[in-house]
Each structure stands twice: as structure tokens, then as C-alpha cells.
């Protein structure tokens, strides 16, 4: 049963002749932390966005706890659309560009989806929001507008907003890539706590150190396919394929340059 927590079956996706996903299948157990690396355009973000059907794949199915996410055909029925929204609420997503809502202050960013989607009452939503904002160390910023926050604070706010929905799975799409180097740490601290709490996570990242320390599994993608898969330490120290070796070499060079 545990192996069927999240199942991706034969996902295909092309954009204008570029194959973003080429028959990708993946089984994720509850509590597993999976890191996805690969060169840009390799399909890693598309994979993440296919999981919550934000980018519906052309072919293939996604199952979360035995529920079909989205649809097996291209058109959603009304019932499927409704179920999809329920399932999305259980899958917290964090974006590279934060995508916090600038017209709502920090507290409202976390409260609003709880009211609208989870249909919680205001008092519950607020106390939940305050508790979670405290966990991401934004408790002294609750009245602030997102435009006034640093990148790291915005990303922590985005994580808090997702956590307030009580997700069972977190999808993180390069959560630290848009951050100044000195702000990466504060976001990683929050993510580490999530790992320690047993959250199931799919994380697209370039933070290889973070991946090797906290990942249960690492996927290397290229050309829309999973090329290598296994324990992060093993894969990063002993890459089998030429493509991964090249990729790691490039990353090394760039990090050296900085």
C-alpha cells in the first residue's frame, strides 16, 4: 500500500516538437523525499507540474492515494475537475518565482486559501496561519505587504501558504534558484524541518549538497526521461551515464566561477 502513495504512469508531454516528458513513470512512497536534477529544459519542472495537473500531460496518469489526478483523457469532466481541486489542495506547490499574492498582506496570503478552498472559518484559519507563520519565522511580518519582503521571506511565505492547507505532498520547483546566495539558507532551514517532519516531497533543485544530505532518492532527468535514479550520494559520487557526468561537471564549473 505504501508504495502506491503517488504513482506516475507513462507521462508524455510535448511542447511544439520539444519532448518535455517521454514516458516517465515513478512510484513515490509516503514520507519519501525525492530530488530531481537535470539541465534546463530537461522536463523536470514539467514533471512537477504534471503531478498536480497544472500542465496536463498529453498521455499518462497520475494517482495520489488511489485517486486519479486530473483525467485519463484530455477533457476533464465536472466531477473530475472537482476532485482535481480537492487533490490539488493536498499537494502544496512552491514556485521558483514565489508567486505570493501582492494584493494581500502576509497573514491574508495564508488565510485566504484556507477560507476559499478548505472552507475553514476565519478564526480557525487565522490561528492556523499564525502558527505556521511562526514556524517559518514570519510572525513579526504578518501585516507586511509582500512587496516589502526579501526573496527569502517571500519564499517562506509561499511555503507557509501551502502548509496551511495541510498538504500530504509538497512539490517544490527550484525553491531557492531565484534567491540571493545569502538568502538560500533561511529557506533550506524551513525545508529541512519539513523533511524531518516526514513530509513527502518532490524537489527540483540545483542544491546538490542539500539533495545528498536529505534526499531518499535522486532523479537525473534529460530530454524528458529519467536517466539515472538512486540514492543521492551514490549517484552524485558515482554517476554511471555520460550525460550525468557532463551535467555534474558543468555544475562544478559554474559553482567554482561564482
Amino acid at each position: 500500500m505504501t508504495s502506491n502513495f503517488l504513482e506516475l504512469k507513462g507521462l508524455y508531454k510535448t511542447f511544439d516538437n520539444i519532448t518535455a516528458l517521454n514516458n516517465v513513470s515513478l512510484n513515490v512512497s509516503k514520507g519519501e523525499v525525492i530530488f530531481i536534477i537535470g539541465p534546463s529544459g530537461c522536463g523536470k519542472s514539467t514533471l512537477l507540474r504534471a503531478v498536480n495537473w497544472l500542465t496536463p500531460p498529453d498521455k499518462g496518469e497520475v494517482w495520489l492515494e488511489g485517486n486519479l489526478v486530473g483525467s485519463s483523457s484530455s477533457k476533464l469532466t465536472i466531477k473530475e475537475a472537482k476532485l482535481l481541486n480537492n487533490l490539488r489542495a493536498k499537494m502544496g506547490m512552491v514556485f521558483q518565482q514565489f508567486n505570493v499574492w501582492p494584493h494581500l498582506n502576509v497573514l491574508e496570503n495564508v488565510v485566504r486559501p484556507q477560507l476559499v478552498v478548505a472552507k475553514r472559518n476565519k478564526a480557525n484559519a487565522e490561528s492556523k496561519a499564525l502558527k505556521i507563520l511562526d514556524e517559518v519565522s514570519l510572525h513579526n511580518k504578518i501585516d507586511e505587504w509582500p512587496d516589502h519582503l526579501s526573496g527569502g521571506q517571500k519564499q517562506r511565505l509561499a511555503i507557509a501558504r501551502a502548509l496551511a492547507m495541510d498538504p500530504i505532498l509538497m512539490l517544490l520547483d527550484e525553491p531557492t534558484s531565484a534567491l540571493d546566495p545569502e538568502l538560500v539558507g533561511e529557506v533550506l532551514i524551513v525545508l529541512k524541518r519539513l523533511v524531518n517532519n516526514g513530509m513527502t516531497m518532490l524537489i527540483v533543485t540545483h542544491e546538490l549538497g542539500f539533495a545528498s544530505e536529505f534526499g531518499d532518492r535522486l532523479l537525473f532527468m534529460d530530454g524528458g526521461e529519467i536517466i539515472e535514479e538512486g540514492s543521492p550520494k551514490k549517484i552524485l559520487t558515482m554517476p554511471k551515464t555520460k550525460r550525468l557526468k557532463m551535467f555534474l561537471k558543468k555544475l562544478d564549473i559554474t559553482s567554482f566561477k561564482h
Binding site: 490539488r88 508567486n99 505570493v100 501582492p102 494584493h103 498582506n105 497573514l107 488565510v111 501585516d143 492547507m165
Partner: protein, 236 residues
Amino acid sequence: MLEYQIFFDYAPILLIGFWLTIKIVVCAIALGIPLGLFLALGRRSNFVIISFLSTSFIELFRNTPFIIQVFLFYYVLPFYGLRLSAEYIGVLALAAFGSAYFAEIIRAGIDAVPKGQLDSARAIGMTDWQAMRNVILPQTLSIVIPPLTNQTLTLIKESAILSTITVHELTMTGLMVQGETFRPFEVFIMVALLYWALNETIATIMRKFEQNTKKNRKAGSIGNSSTTLKKSTSIK
């Protein structure tokens, strides 16, 4: 030379016409903006029929002269059994004309909101409509205030054309007074000043409103959390 007496003698009747202009424009905007929002969303709809109808409506009203639209409304509606007074027909024509432009303004405003905003709203489980209402449209508002104001001013000026279908608004009243006094210069100066005063007032109010919305977001920490929370519920 100007005959100043005309200003005093005919100001009351012109003000009556002016009042009708205000009423017609207010009604046309009250109808036109919601219709424009509806058309803007319709044009973006995934349902082909809805998007086709919305697009056709917008293009039809944007690409034909307003005076022709007014004539069509005035002569064609009664033919189909819809007998309305000229004032109501004027309101409908003005609302339809305005809504086409409002729709395009709102559509551009929606498109100007970064795509990631919709992504984050959908990813957290909002329906399209919930995402529109809670995330996209509030951000659209501050973008569209200046062009919407512009269009409103245009609508006020275009309302003068309703004089051609016997609506006794400001321009029509001006024409009548002119016919009585043969003093076009005095009369139309008064008419122009009244239009100008109305537009200037609206432009000033909207500028203030725009500054306020900007200031609010830039103000940083404003008050304690309970006041901001109250505001958020009233917006909801």
C-alpha cells in the same frame, strides 16, 4: 461681445439637461462595466461559443461609429417590439458601446497579471472563478483604473450624440437654447464648461483613488493586524 445675461437666464435649463447627461452616463457605466467584465471573461472562455459571441460583440461595437449604433438601437429595437423611451435607448446604446472598450481594457489588465499568480491559485485548489475573484481580478483593478477612467470620460463626451435621437441631455438642451437665442457662442461655451467640469471632477476623483490603492500596498506595516483583517473581509 458676449451677452452675459444669457448665462444667467439659461443656466437653469442647461443644468436640467446636464443632470440628465449625468444620469444617463452613470446608468450606462453601471451597466457597461459589469457587461465589459463579462465579455472580457467570455472572450477568454474555453467554450468556443461563448468566446465567439463575446469577441463578435466586442469587435462589432468597437469597429462601427457610435452614431450608427445609436440609430440602429433607436430604429431597430421598436421594430422588434421593444418600445423604450429615447433616454433608455440612449443608456443601452452607450452601455453596449462602452462595454466593448471596457472589455478590452479588463482583458488587457487580466493579461498583465503575471501568469504565476494564476498558477499558484490553481495549484492550491482554487477553481477558475475562485482564482479570478481572489487573486487575479483584485490585481487587475489597480492596473485598469487609469484606462477605465479614460474610457469613462470618452463615454461622457460620446453621450452628446444621443441628442440626435431626441434625448434632452446637455447637448440637445444647448441646441434648443441656441435656436431660441441665436447666441451659439455663449450657449456652447456653457455646454462645454459643464462637460469639462464633470470630466475634470471624475478624473480628479479617480486619480485620488488610484493614489490611495498604490499607497495602501506600499505603506508597509499599516495598523495592527485586526484592522487589516477587517478590510480583507470587506473586500471578500
